[in-house]
């Protein structure tokens, strides 16, 4: 056990009091990057990318939809990763990371489902079909909600951390099972009514718009999660000296500016 503020190792940032200022310094940069990339991505998607030959203008919702769907799945993986790290290494910060990620992942799930419904109405004629992808996305949302509800329902933070980590890992093990069972169920029942996989080859500008938006979603997630982790650290460590000193410094800075 080394003292948290000693040693050049990157692992010293596993200590909340070292990570707190680092997160504070990094978050605005990611937020700025997210804002710039979103502007660039939206400009590409609305003004540069050509109108789709078969779907018309409606297809443009994919510039939000696809990055959101990617992020919603990726965030769950990252969450499970931090949960595993927390359980193995017994680091408080890892649990905080996974809990800070959950609301953003759930939000991207909702955005993906919502934009998918808005796209589905004009294209398929219905807001919802029991397609394998839609159904597993909805189940992923339930997994997020279960994780959030469990960690919020437990008052003892230590227990909340570990219980959340266990359910995140159980969920991660089950995600492939759920995905393939839903896929099989769907193909058995109604045949391939709609397939997103055999999309016509995309124009380069379309792809570029989508990728820029995806990177923007990454930057946004990083910024929001770092900020959320910061406030969670303050809440958890509010009885420690360093938080008292930190808040005092913050108050002085605010006072000096006013």
């Amino acid at each position: 056990m080394s003292r948290p503020d000693r040693g050049p190792s990157i692992l010293r940032f596993a200590a909340p009091q070292n990570f707190y200022p680092l997160a504070g310094r990094l978050a605005p940069w990611f937020a700025g990057a997210a804002a710039l990339l979103t502007l660039a991505g939206l400009w590409l998607s609305f003004f540069v990318a050509p109108t789709d030959a078969t779907q018309g203008e409606v297809y443009r919702v994919i510039f939000i939809h696809v990055p959101a769907a990617w992020m919603s799945m990726f965030v769950y993986l990252v969450m499970a990763f931090w949960s595993a790290v927390g359980l193995v290494m017994n680091t408080r910060l890892s649990f905080l990371m996974s809990q800070a990620l959950a609301p953003t992942g759930a939000m991207f799930c909702v955005v993906a489902l919502w934009t998918g419904a808005l796209w589905g109405k004009p294209t398929w004629g219905t807001y919802w079909v029991w397609d394998a992808r839609l159904t597993s996305q909805a189940l992923l949302l339930f997994l997020y909600l279960g994780f959030i509800a469990l960690t919020r329902a437990i008052e003892d933070p230590r227990r909340a951390d570990r219980a959340g980590a266990i359910i995140a890992l159980v969920g991660a093990v089950n995600v492939p099972v759920i995905y393939f069972s839903v896929k099989w169920w769907n193909t058995l029942h109604q045949g391939a009514s709609v397939s997103l996989t055999k999309a016509p080859s995309m124009a380069t500008t379309m792809l570029a718009g989508m990728l820029v938006m995806a990177v923007a979603a990454w930057a946004y997630t990083l910024a929001v999660v770092l900020w959320r982790v910061r406030s969670m650290i303050l809440e958890r460590e509010r009885h420690t000296e360093w938080v008292g000193a930190e808040l005092m410094r913050e108050a002085l800075r605010q006072g000096g500016r006013a």
Binding site: F142, A149, A153, A163, I167, V177, I178, S181
Partner: protein
């Protein structure tokens, strides 16, 4: 080592026998939920026959879900659980014994009653073996997965709803293959593929879920 397994199994079965009203309540719930469907969707025999596999499976799943809180709650309240966790016996063993006892007292009665309810819904004759086998293979998976959720929500306010939110998404594959087995039998493709997948799921759950359950119990009781 196995003596601990059988001791816990015997104890839980004896406790269930002493409080057998609980088991009957679970069964009554199962029967009533199935009987609600004709009132909801209409008593037309063709329609009931079509939805019978799904209805029976969803009702069995809900009956299992609603009795899950009983799995550890009593032992948690009177301190038995802590003593068991402190004992030198491997925790995975007695957790498996508890889950097995739970399945014998809730899953098995449901399996026995399901064919009778199948008659109420006019399920075709040929589908009964598939129904029973799929329930025999599927309900233990529900019990094993549910045990993890029950261990995590031990002693929490509003634990019941939380437990449902936690485990229902995990139950979906079991429901798909369980009801799918019966439907495949009805449509003539044969239930073998579904039943094999359920069996594989049971083997996987049996290998992994008790460990997760023990970890969850340790988290919840420390």
């Amino acid at each position: 080592m196995l003596s601990a397994f059988f001791a816990v199994l015997r104890r839980d079965l004896l406790l269930a026998w002493r409080g057998r009203a609980d088991v009957l309540v679970t069964l009554a719930f199962f029967v009533i939920v199935v009987c609600l469907f004709p009132f909801g969707v209409g008593a037309e025999a063709n329609l009931l026959r079509t939805i019978a596999p799904g209805v029976l499976w969803v009702a069995a799943l809900l009956a299992c879900l609603l009795s899950l809180h009983r799995l550890f709650a009593q032992d948690h309240a009177d301190g038995t659980l802590e003593q068991l966790l402190l004992s030198s016996e491997p925790a995975v063993l007695w957790v498996t014994a508890k889950v097995l006892a739970f399945w014998l007292t809730t899953g098995l009665p449901v399996v026995v009653v399901a064919p009778v309810l199948g008659m109420l819904l006019d399920l075709e004759q040929g589908a009964y073996p598939a129904l029973v086998i799929s329930l025999v293979l599927g309900t233990p998976i529900l019990a094993l997965l549910g045990a993890v959720g029950a261990a995590l929500t031990l002693g929490l306010r509003g634990g019941g709803m939380l437990l449902a939110l936690l485990v229902l998404p995990l139950f979906v594959p079991v429901l798909i293959f369980g009801a799918g087995a019966v439907e495949a039998e009805l449509s003539g493709t044969g239930a073998t593929a579904h039943l094999l997948l359920l069996g594989g799921g049971l083997a996987g759950a049996l290998a992994l879920a008790p460990w997760a359950c023990v970890a969850a119990l340790r988290v919840s009781t420390e």
